[in-house]
């Protein structure tokens, strides 16, 4: 029974939150890494693309809610999601047309594109704040829990609870589905193959008749879709606030770089590495130890490697370590 309690406590406070946060980061990092893979620049506006997509989805959700449409136990935002993706894709394609294309045609070095994306970031930042405001928004409806902590305790009779949220389940399923689909798309379809060809060797791809503008447009659409999905899942799980999304940029890039910039598989792994390193290294193992150790070995301290103040430092230490020993990331990325 004690071992079960220890396992349950660990699952509730480390495994589940880490996996959910990891899945959300992974989806965000996938979008950033795709753009890097094809266009060879780090898109700083990615966090705000997430915010824009979430905002569009929230607006549609409110509209649906006001005319009385709901999705049963699932959040209404899932119905609104496709519209949010279309709105975001349109917005980023327009940005590409107005801003990035000019620089791409002039074949500027990638550092200039990074700076351009920084400018785009500030503009998107402002647009989102102008439309929906700076406040915290809750848009999750339907059931919040698959089962609550109290229910779990009654069922199992254990002292420690596990609560499973609908948004956690959706995040994990969505991450698996999206990653599987993306893998299939890049590996099996003609468009996916042309994208990989373009990413591997731009000149050779151009010689084989691949239309670069089409590849770029599809990349933007995919990145917008991934950003919107990641943003909406994140917002459903926690809450939506433009500033928080802007701050998500750092862990997302840490995830993409740890995994290997430009490598989709790496982005997934990176997302989970960053999430688990934040949650697990700063977790206090006292509760787990109390259940596992005999009575006279009970710990007095918190059995915590680092206090939670350092959780951001942890993910960046992982980043530095990976870059020191494997500069192209855990999975071979495009960055040398």
């Amino acid at each position: 029974m004690d071992a079960a309690n220890a396992l349950v406590a660990f699952t509730n406070y480390v495994l589940l939150p880490g996996a959910t946060y990891g899945a959300q980061l992974a989806l965000g990092a996938l979008g950033a890494t795709l753009i890097y893979g094809i266009m060879r620049f780090s898109n700083f506006a990615h966090g705000d693309t997430m915010a824009f997509g979430t905002m569009a989805t929230i607006l549609v959700t409110w509209l649906l809610q006001s005319i009385g449409i709901s999705f049963g136990p699932l959040p209404t935002a899932l119905i609104a999601l496709p519209v949010g993706i279309i709105a975001t894709a349109t917005f980023v394609l327009a940005t590409d047309r107005l801003v990035y294309r000019h620089y791409r045609r002039n074949k500027v070095p990638s550092i200039i594109l990074v700076m351009v994306s920084l400018g785009v970031m500030f503009v998107m930042n402002g647009v989102v704040r102008m439309i929906i405001g700076v406040d915290d928004r809750q848009f999750a409806d339907g059931a919040r829990f698959v089962f609550t902590a109290a229910q779990f305790k009654t069922w199992t009779g254990l002292a420690e609870p596990i609560a499973l949220r609908v948004s956690q389940v959706i995040s994990l399923i969505a991450a698996v589905v999206v990653v599987a689909w993306l893998y299939w798309f890049l590996e099996k379809t003609r468009t996916g193959k042309s994208m990989r060809a373009f990413s591997d060797n731009e000149n050779l791809a151009l010689l084989s008749g691949i239309n670069p503008e089409r590849v770029v447009a599809i990349t933007w659409i995919l990145a917008a879709a991934l950003a919107t999905i990641a943003g909406v899942l994140y917002g459903l799980d926690k809450s939506f606030r433009p500033f928080t999304y802007f701050q998500l940029l750092l862990p997302i890039f840490a995830a993409a770089v740890v995994g290997g910039l430009g490598n989709p598989l790496g982005a997934i792994a990176g997302g989970f590495v960053v999430a688990f390193s934040e949650v697990a290294v700063t977790y206090s193992f006292r509760k787990v130890a109390t259940y596992l150790l005999p009575d006279d070995w009970q710990p007095d301290g918190l059995l915590q490697l680092l206090t939670t103040d350092y959780k951001v430092a942890v993910s960046f230490s992982v980043l530095v370590l990976v870059l020191l020993f494997k500069p192209s990331g855990l999975f071979k990325g495009k960055a040398a």
Binding site: N12, Q138, S284, T307
Partner: protein, 394 residues
């Protein structure tokens, strides 16, 4: 020529007489800077007291009080010091209401008030650091120190039979101050603090923070944060994981957004925030409304009380010299004596003139504790059925 001499001589007598009776009070507040929106009604409240006292004609044998405003800027200690120096050496004020911000109050107190021996009564400086500053008995404040909030919360938790708590605080001066005062006071009362750890505002994910708080355990979780910031994130994660079933909230967490967002999930959560059920507050509202002042604005009651205390102390000491009346401030503010509410200053002046005792209650139920600061009135609240309910007042 004779007539002229007579007239000028009598004018001179009148002028010197007027000068002798004139008591000047400095009102030094942040009229520009970060709290410039708060200070205008505060200064008006101070001037309302002065008008009330002048109208009574009972102050120090019919002396007139005048107000001199000065700008402390809130953030520029140099400007605050210069303005206070001008008030004291130029305008020869008998005391200063202000400064309104803690930083400016510290600078003015150490650089100007103590060397010149002039009394300061701040209506709004709340930094705990001001409690320990060497002030030669010259500094008073009618707003409670931030530390009081934590002490009162610790007492409420003990009264509710809570034996151990974990504390999560927002990583700034306010959060740290409240967390450490809760911890000190709670441990003094025999309670146990299992962990006191900070959280950053505006972050997305708080699983790690809640994980370690849950591991430390406790009967309740104290969140010294903000209702629309990281505090709400911590609450959300705690509710999601079932880590704690009881919350204790200091002032910063009592935002309307919190109850709206979590509703009945927070049932049983309790805490405190500044507030009073004293009839004085309602009375002042009425008076300010009549005078066209924004009476519901922050620190207006405290400013009214600060000014009233200063003038009543002068009356009690029968002198407007700081050295004489500084020791009387605590006397007029606290029991024993006749209770005095806003609008009753004439009555108070009369009692003091006749050598009686008063217990000034005022608009903010002011009770001064050592070293010359308001004990503060706090409202204990609880969430029940998704709505906030007042339990009692402390």
């Amino acid at each position: 020529m004779k007539k002229f001499l007579l007239v000028s001589a009598s004018l001179l007598v009148l002028a010197t007489a007027a000068k002798a009776e004139d008591v000047k009070i400095g009102i030094e507040m942040g009229f520009t800077g970060p709290i410039e929106t708060l200070t205008p009604p505060m200064a008006q409240a101070a001037e309302l007291v002065i008008k009330e006292v002048n109208d009574s004609g009972l102050f120090l044998d019919g002396a007139k009080v005048t107000a001199v405003r000065a700008d402390e800027t809130c953030i520029d200690a140099g400007a605050a010091t210069a303005a206070a120096e001008r008030l004291i050496t130029g305008d020869k004020v008998a005391g200063i209401i202000g400064p309104s911000c803690s930083g400016a109050a510290t600078a003015v107190l150490t650089n100007v008030a103590v060397p010149n021996g002039i009394v300061l009564i701040s209506p709004s400086a709340t930094s705990p650091a001001l409690s320990t500053l060497e002030d030669k008995g010259l500094f008073f404040r009618t707003a409670p120190s931030d530390a009081r909030e934590g002490e009162v919360l610790a007492q409420i938790m003990r009264d509710r039979g809570i034996k151990s708590v974990a504390i999560s605080y927002t990583n700034n001066d306010y959060g740290k101050g409240v967390a450490s005062s809760v911890q000190t006071a709670f441990e003094k009362l025999g309670g146990k603090v299992t962990l006191s750890a900070p959280h950053e505002d505006g972050k997305g994910d708080y699983s790690a923070e809640v994980g370690s708080l849950a591991s430390a355990g406790g009967d309740a979780l104290v969140i010294a944060g903000y209702a629309d910031q990281g505090g709400a994130g911590i609450v959300q994660t705690v509710l999601d994981t079932g880590a704690f079933s009881k919350f204790a909230f200091p002032n910063g967490m009592w935002g309307a957004s919190l109850v709206k967002r979590f509703g009945t999930q927070l049932d049983g959560a309790f805490g405190n925030l500044p507030g009073t059920d004293s009839p004085g507050a309602a009375k002042l509202m009425e008076m300010t409304e009549k005078a066209g002042i924004a009476g519901s604005a922050t620190f207006v009651p405290e400013t009214y009380d600060a000014t009233a205390l200063m003038l009543l102390a002068m009356q009690a000491a029968k002198s407007s010299a700081s050295a004489d009346y500084k020791s009387k401030i605590m006397d007029v503010a606290n029991a024993p004596g006749e209770k005095i509410y806003p609008g009753e200053l004439a009555k108070a002046l009369q009692i003091l003139k006749d050598g009686g005792d008063i217990d000034y209650v005022g608009a903010s139920a002011v009770e001064l504790i050592e070293p010359g600061e308001s004990a503060g009135a706090f409202r204990e609240q609880e969430i029940e059925g998704g709505a906030v309910k007042t339990v009692k007042f402390h």
